[in-house]
Structure formats: C-alpha cells, structure tokens
Symmetry: C2
C-alpha cells in the first residue's frame, strides 16, 4: 500500500466470479458477480486501465500549453493539457515529463510539483489520473508528434483565455477543467 493511502473497505463487495470480456490495447473489460453487504448478489462491469498522467505546462511568458486532438469516443476534438497513459513500471513523473516533451516540444528543467491525483470514473473504471505542474518550460525543439496514431496541435493560452475555452466547452474534460480551476486558485493566493 502506498504511503499515506488509507484503503477503506466499508461495504465491501466480494467477488464470486469474474468473466473476462475483452483485453485491448488501452482497456480491459470484465464483469464480476458480487455478494453485497446484505447477502444479495449483483453484477459489476469493470474497466481496467493502466492509469494516466497529465501535465499543466506553463511557459516563461506565463502561457499555458494545451494540445488539441481528436477524441474518437466524443467524435470531436478537445483542447486538453498534455497527457498520456502510464507505462508498466514507469514512475508517473517520468511518464509526465516524456509526454510533455513528445506532445509539446517543451521540457522542464526544475522538478515538477505534484498537483493532484484522482480516479476519473470510479463507478466503472479504475483509471487514476496524476497531475503535475511544470513551470519555466524550455523549448527543446522536438516536433509535437505524440505517438504514431496521435495528431495534435499546440494551443498556448493565458489563464483568461483558458477560462473562455472552458466556457465555450472547447476545454471540456476532467483533468483540464481541474487544471484551469487549479490555476485560478493559485492566482488568488
């Protein structure tokens, strides 16, 4: 168990059977038969995901660096903070720095600060998102290509502009909405 983590088991649901439905590149799906606290039974549909990192990247000119990309599940593109799936055995901070460099061409020399972590959708998925703050970015000239099957475009915004993007729903996902709200709180301190 990780340091500082309190794993609560209240109302635990015991698994009596697991049916593995799908084992994909990004997600696995299984359906568990469970026994509820009152002895009744139910089924739980569970998505397994390796977890992810997101970086809140701030340039020396105090611009926030976002990436715009097409999100197939939504059939639209969104403006998001750079992010990526965790790699087996890689520390989240290492993944975060790599994704920042690959997706934006910026790197960070100083240590990134931990901002928050959260399960994105605990009702049906185990994906955890880890968020870091990367300040005083340096452009190192990597092209912003992402992975082979990722097409992305950089969008650099002031905080005020980012708030407008949230209003227009061009920024419209949990980690990025959280990031913009977080920067608002920093500004007010």
């Amino acid at each position: 168990m990780k340091k500082g983590m309190i794993l609560m088991k209240k109302f635990e649901e015991k698994t009596t059977h697991t049916e593995k439905i799908y084992d994909g590149k990004v997600v696995k799906l299984q359906v568990d038969d469970v026994v509820l606290p009152d002895g009744e039974t139910s089924k739980r549909e569970l998505i397994k995901h390796p977890g992810a990192v997101g970086v809140i990247p701030i340039t020396k000119e105090n611009k926030i660096v976002f990436v715009e990309q097409y999100r197939k599940p939504l059939e639209q593109s969104l403006v998001e903070i750079p992010a990526g799936k965790l790699e087996e055995g890689e520390a989240p901070k290492v993944t975060a720095k790599r994704e920042l460099e690959e997706e934006t061409g910026y790197t960070v020399r100083e240590p990134m600060a931990f901002v928050a972590s959260f399960y994105t959708s605990p009702g049906f998925a185990d994906e955890m998102m880890h968020l870091y703050l990367a300040k005083n970015l340096e452009l190192v000239g990597y092209p912003a290509t992402g992975d082979d099957d990722e097409f992305i475009e950089l969008v650099e915004l002031t905080l005020e502009e980012a708030k407008q993007y949230v209003k227009n729903k061009r920024i419209h996902d949990a980690k990025t909405n959280y990031a913009v709200l977080y920067l608002e709180t920093l500004e007010r301190m």
Copy 2:
C-alpha cells in the same frame, strides 16, 4: 447541437468498421477501425456511457454532504459527492435532484446552480459529468438507501475537513476533487 457548444472536428478519424463487443447495464464497449488524418489506419476502443450528474450539497450549517460507498473497480470505498447515471430522456438537473434526495435524504428548494460539466476520460469513454451546487438543504427524511444494490453512508464535513480527506485520499475521484477545489475558490472570492 447544444446551445453554446462548439463541436470541433479537427483531425477527424473516420470510422470504417465498428465491432460491438459488449452491451451492459452501465457501459457498452465497441472497437472502431478508423482512418487517421494521414490516411493510415488504427483501432479505437470506445466505452459508451449514458453520462452522469453530481451534486455539491451544502447544508444550512455550511457542511458539505458526501456519501461513502464501495467502488468495485478500485476494491475500496471512497467519499464522494452524491452522483448518479443519467436516465434516458431525463434532464441532468432532474436526475441530480433525485440522486441528492435518494442518496442523502436532503432536498433543495431553491434552483441549483450549474457548476461545470466535463468528459471524465475522453481518451476511451464518452461519459460526461454534470455538476450542480445545491445550497440551503432541507432534510426531508428519506432514508439514504440509493439504488437496490447501493450501500452508502453519509459523511458531513466542513470545507477544511474535506480538504483533509483529499489529502488522505479518502476523497479521490475527479468530480469530488473538483467540487472541493471549486468550494475553495468560492471561499476566496
């Protein structure tokens, strides 16, 4: 298209084939073959979800009302704001008020304020979360039962206590972390 929504299609990925893998109570899973902007092909694993609402409930004594429940995908219980899946054809605000009453026994007489909406995990799922603020709660005495297969316990906290729960990771999901951060920004205004 909803009012005020800008649906961007940049880097659109055209679907050439859809394989339906699973159609469950909560999620559906499909795998789409897509053509990328450069003409190459790839596969996308997509979770379809009806969407969800969350309510940030504040009592007249300025306590925030959370619910603790077991989250099977995580094999632990979390302290979260009341939330639930959208019902077909039901407005998010109506679902939100019903979930508040069912899960907490509190209701709200004044209109709830819209706080935010966001896709929880746009890389693989289309679930959208809608968040509302419910103030000046009234206890109407419904037992806090939730659905048939939900076991929940009320946890009423001050904002300071809630921030401690975030630190201890007993609050540890996107909508609830967002809610606590949102209440922090309100306090600072």
